[in-house]
C-alpha cells in the first residue's frame, strides 16, 4: 500500500519530466532517489555548528541543483527549481518507505512479531500522513501556490509588481514606501518552487543599510495544533521560520546586532495544508496577515523609519 503511494509519487514526477521532454525519465528519477543525503554536523562541539550546518546544506543543495541542471540543459531556473523540489519530495517518500521496509524485514528476519505488530498499527497513519506529499507534487509541478506559500504571498501583497533585486541566491528584496516608512521586503524568488535564503539575504541587506533598521517582521506558515482553526493569524515575537537552523539564527543575530525588535506573524495550518495547494481559507488568511503586518508597521514605527518584512516560505506560483 505504501509502496503504491511512493510509486505514484515517482510516476507523477516522471510524467512531469517526460512532458518537459526529458529522455529516460525513469532512470533520472531513480538516480536522484538514493543520492544526496546530508549528514548532520557534529553537535557535541557547538563552536560554529551553524556555519558547518549551513555549509553542508549548501553543498547538498548545490550538488543537487547542478546535477538536475546538467541533465536538463535549456530549462528555465524556475522549472529546475520545481523539478528539484518534486524530486526531493519523492526522495523523502522513498526514504520513509525504505525505513519501514527495513523494520518489516528486520521483524521477519528475527521473527520479531512485536516489531511487525507495531508496524502494522502505525502504517495506516503513516499512509495518511504521506498522501498529501504525493498531492503536493501535483501542485508544485503545475506551479500552484501551496499552504507554505503564505509568507511569500503576504510579501507579494506588500510589494505588488515593484522591482525585485536578487540579493542572495533564489532570494529577492524589494523596496516600497508605506506611509512614509521605507519598507524592504524579502522573499524567495518566484514563481519557481524555492524557499531561498531569507536569513542570509537579511544579513546582506542590513549590511547595506549599515544596521539602520527599526523593526523586522517575519511572516510564515506555522503548524497549528489539532483543533485549532486553519487560517488563524497570530502575532508574537521572534523569528517565524522553520528551517533547520542557519537561516533562523541569522535573522535573530541581525535583530540583536541592530537592536531591532523582531515581530512574528504566523498563519496557522496543518502539516497537510502546508504542502497542499492553497485553500480558499488560507488565501483569505493571507489578506488578514497582510492587514496585520500593515497594522504593525503603522502602529509600531514612525514615518521615516526603516522596516524589513520577510515573507518566509515556498514561493511556488508567486512572483
Amino acid at each position: 500500500m505504501l509502496e503504491a503511494l511512493v510509486n505514484e509519487g515517482i510516476a507523477k514526477v516522471r510524467t512531469y519530466l517526460s512532458k518537459l521532454g526529458v529522455d529516460r525519465p525513469h532512470e533520472f528519477v531513480t538516480r536522484f532517489l538514493d543520492n544526496y543525503f546530508a549528514i548532520n554536523p557534529v553537535d557535541i562541539e557547538p563552536t560554529d555548528i551553524i556555519r558547518r550546518m549551513a555549509h553542508i546544506i549548501d553543498t547538498a543543495e548545490h550538488k543537487f541543483k547542478q546535477d538536475v541542471a546538467a541533465r536538463l540543459p535549456n530549462m528555465s531556473k524556475h522549472t529546475i527549481n520545481n523539478i528539484a523540489v518534486s524530486l526531493s519530495i519523492v526522495s523523502a517518500l522513498h526514504t520513509v518507505y525504505k525505513i519501514l521496509r527495513h523494520y518489516y524485514l528486520l521483524g521477519r528476519k528475527y521473527e520479531n512479531w512485536l516489531l511487525l505488530m507495531q508496524l502494522a498499527l502505525v502504517l495506516p497513519q503513516i499512509v495518511k500522513e504521506l498522501s498529501p506529499y504525493v498531492k503536493a507534487i501535483d501542485a508544485i509541478t503545475k506551479g500552484i501556490p501551496i499552504g507554505d506559500s503564505v509568507g511569500p504571498l503576504v510579501a507579494y501583497k506588500l510589494i505588488g509588481l515593484s522591482k525585485r533585486d536578487e540579493i542572495e541566491e533564489d532570494t529577492v528584496v524589494s523596496e516600497v514606501n508605506i506611509e512614509g516608512r521605507r519598507v524592504f521586503v524579502i522573499k524567495a524568488k518566484g514563481p519557481g518552487a524555492t524557499v531561498g535564503k531569507p536569513g542570509r539575504a537579511l544579513a546582506k541587506l542590513v549590511e547595506r543599510l549599515q544596521c539602520r533598521v527599526d523593526r523586522i517582521i517575519t511572516v510564515d506558515a506555522a503548524l497549528k495544533l489539532e483543533g485549532e482553526e486553519t487560517g488563524e493569524v497570530a502575532e508574537g515575537a521572534g523569528a517565524a521560520i522553520g528551517d533547520p537552523g542557519p537561516e533562523k539564527i541569522e535573522i535573530e543575530r541581525v535583530a540583536v546586532r541592530c537592536g531591532a525588535p523582531l515581530d512574528a506573524v504566523i498563519i496557522k495550518m496543518s502539516s497537510e495544508e502546508a504542502i497542499k495547494p492553497l485553500s480558499k481559507k488560507l488565501a483569505e488568511a493571507c489578506e488578514k496577515a497582510y492587514q496585520r503586518v500593515l497594522e504593525i508597521i503603522k502602529s509600531r514605527t514612525k514615518p521615516g523609519d526603516t522596516v524589513i518584512v520577510i515573507g518566509v516560505g515556498n514561493s511556488v506560483g508567486v512572483y
Binding site: 495506516p124 500552484i144 504571498l153 505588488g160 509588481l161 518566484g190 492553497l278 480558499k280 506560483g317 508567486v318
Partner: protein, 95 residues
C-alpha cells in the same frame, strides 16, 4: 510455575486476538474514510486590476502564477494581474 506461564499464554492470546480485531476494524474504517474524504478540488485564478476597480475569477490554467500580468483592464487600461490562486472543493462551488 507452569500454571502461571499457562495463564500468561492465555492472556497473551486473548490480547492478540483483541489487537487483531481492532486492527482489522481500524483498517476497514480508515479505508472507508479515505474514500469519503478528499472531495475533488478545482483551482481558481483570481485576477484584479492594479487600481482595484475590476476583478474576475476563472479556472486555473497552466502557467498562471500570482503576480503575472494577463492583460489590461477593460475599465481603466491598467495592467490586470493575477492576485490569488487557490483551490476549492467542487461542492463548495455548487452552493
Amino acid at each position: 510455575m507452569d500454571g502461571a506461564s499457562g495463564l500468561y499464554l492465555v492472556l497473551f492470546i486473548v490480547l492478540m486476538v483483541i489487537l487483531v480485531i481492532q486492527m482489522v476494524i481500524n483498517y476497514i474504517t480508515s479505508k472507508k474514510k479515505a474514500q469519503q474524504q478528499e472531495p475533488p478540488v478545482k483551482f481558481i485564478t483570481s485576477i484584479s486590476c492594479i487600481n482595484n476597480d475590476y476583478r474576475i475569477e476563472r479556472d486555473y490554467s497552466e502557467g498562471d502564477f500570482v503576480g503575472k500580468i494577463v492583460g489590461s483592464c477593460p475599465r481603466c487600461g491598467s495592467p490586470l494581474v493575477i492576485d490569488k490562486i487557490f483551490s476549492i472543493t467542487i461542492q463548495q462551488q455548487r452552493k
